[in-house]
């Protein structure tokens, strides 16, 4: 009985949050098939780990968003995914993008907004939020001092907030 009610509460949770979480995943993994698989993993993780969610530490969505983002970045880093991307690039050269399940990440949710920012800022949010690089890694990649990466990223986030704010 209780088990049934728990499942129906979870079903309700899925109905309300799956669309927004799916768009978060698509912002990182544009392939809709892979993104659907990740969404599935994300909800199973949410189900298993809901007891670790601390209501005093933030909103439920914020917690789920971070679960989704972490899962997407893990997938992005996986060997499988990277090989798949290489193959896809090869096939796309031959067959063009017609019929591909690829979504253009530039057009999805938060990423679309990030694209409105100045390049210096955009790059930092892209690398840290959407690609999951640490500030240390970014500092080495872009050959910018770590302190600059930190302050610039924070300025970028403030700009981002200004752009989202209605």
């Amino acid at each position: 009985m209780l088990k049934q009610r728990q499942e129906s509460a979870f079903s309700y949770l899925y109905d309300h949050y799956s669309g927004s979480l799916y768009s978060v995943i698509l912002g990182i993994i544009p392939d809709r098939e892979i993104a659907s698989d990740i969404l599935q993993d994300v909800f199973i993780k949410i189900w298993r780990q809901i007891e670790t969610y601390d209501t005093t530490k933030g909103r439920l969505f914020t917690w789920m968003l971070n679960v989704a983002r972490n899962a997407s970045i893990d997938a992005l880093r996986s060997k499988n995914y990277q090989q798949g991307q290489q193959n896809r690039e090869l096939t796309e050269n031959v067959y063009d993008a017609a019929g591909s399940t690829q979504t253009n990440t530039d057009k999805i949710g938060l990423r679309k907004i990030v694209h409105k920012l100045k390049d210096d800022y955009r790059v930092l949010i892209e690398l840290s939020y959407f690609e999951g690089f640490t500030q240390d890694e970014i500092s080495k990649m872009l050959r910018i001092p770590l302190g600059t990466v930190k302050t610039r990223l924070r300025t970028a986030l403030i700009q981002l907030k200004q752009v989202i704010k209605p």
């Binding site: 509460a9 979870f10 909103r59 969505f61 939020y129 924070r154």
Partner: protein, 274 residues
């Protein structure tokens, strides 16, 4: 500590988006307990991100849900059975038991909060939709107004083209009819084709007739007024009247709508000799 400067530093945004390092996380989590402003800023940005994600929601393929529900149902069967086992004193069982109820409590709370917050969000989105929709409606009205006034101008332009062609026509006699004594501000012009004998009127300056009244054009033939047609109230440039084979003068009177057999001389407005 300048808490406002801290809030404006971008640390809150990094924290909410999961970009802060462990030191920063510890700092924010200490400060949010001390300063309600920090807590508010965290909530504000979280809500902003949440709304943004909701507005951009993309529906996942329907099979994903059935797969998930099947998977958790399967998982439940394995985790829950020990709770109801006959040896409730085993340590492992009580842990599962607590976990199970905690999960249930959070899910129940989540759904309640969800129902409330989704109502609020729906309300917000609906408001946003209504605002956009009414902005769209007013743009549409504006566009229609512009289109129709454009059409009015086009009609005017065509009418004036016709008028200017007539004025340029050497066969066309132009008879100016100034206002009669006492009505010097009025003016109308008759165009009369010498071959076809067609008559056109241009009501240059005539006051708007009162309701139920209409201007009538008369041709004076050997001292007798002959009806030459009623002026269409919508005539703005040049309008065709009745054919008049012979006349010495033209005049306009204001008559009851539909016209009279003889002119009401007290209502004579303009007159001009050929």
């Amino acid at each position: 500590m300048d808490i406002q400067a801290y809030i404006r530093s971008g640390i809150i945004e990094s924290y909410v988006l999961g970009l802060a390092n462990s030191e920063e996380i510890a700092e924010v989590e200490t400060l949010r307990l001390q300063y309600p402003e920090v807590e508010d800023a965290i909530m504000e940005f979280s809500v902003l991100i949440e709304e943004q994600a909701f507005e951009n929601a993309v529906a996942p393929p329907p099979f994903v849900k059935s797969k998930i529900m099947a998977a958790i149902h399967e998982e439940d069967r394995h985790t829950i059975s020990p709770v109801f086992s006959l040896s409730p004193n085993e340590e492992g069982n009580s842990v599962v038991h607590i976990t199970f109820f905690r999960k249930w409590r959070i899910l129940a709370a989540a759904s309640t909060i969800l129902a409330i917050s989704s109502t609020a969000l729906n309300f917000y989105l609906y408001n946003k939709y209504s605002r956009k929709n009414s902005a769209y409606q007013s743009l549409l009205t504006e566009r229609n107004t512009l289109a129709s006034s454009n059409q009015v101008y086009q009609t005017h332009l065509r009418e004036w083209e016709v008028a200017s062609r007539m004025m340029a026509d050497t066969e066309m006699a132009m008879i100016k009819m100034p206002g009669v004594p006492g009505k010097p501000q009025h003016l109308a012009t008759v165009f009369w084709h010498s071959q076809s004998k067609d008559v056109y009127i241009m009501p240059n300056k005539l006051p708007l007739p009162a309701a139920g009244k209409q201007y009538q054009l008369w041709a004076l033939v050997n001292g007798k007024p002959v009806d030459a047609g009623m002026l269409d109230p919508s005539c703005n440039s040049i309008c065709k009247m009745k054919n008049v084979p012979y006349a010495q003068a033209f005049a306009i009177t204001l008559e009851n709508a539909g016209g009279s057999a003889t002119p009401t001389m007290t209502q004579l407005f303009v007159m001009g000799k050929v």
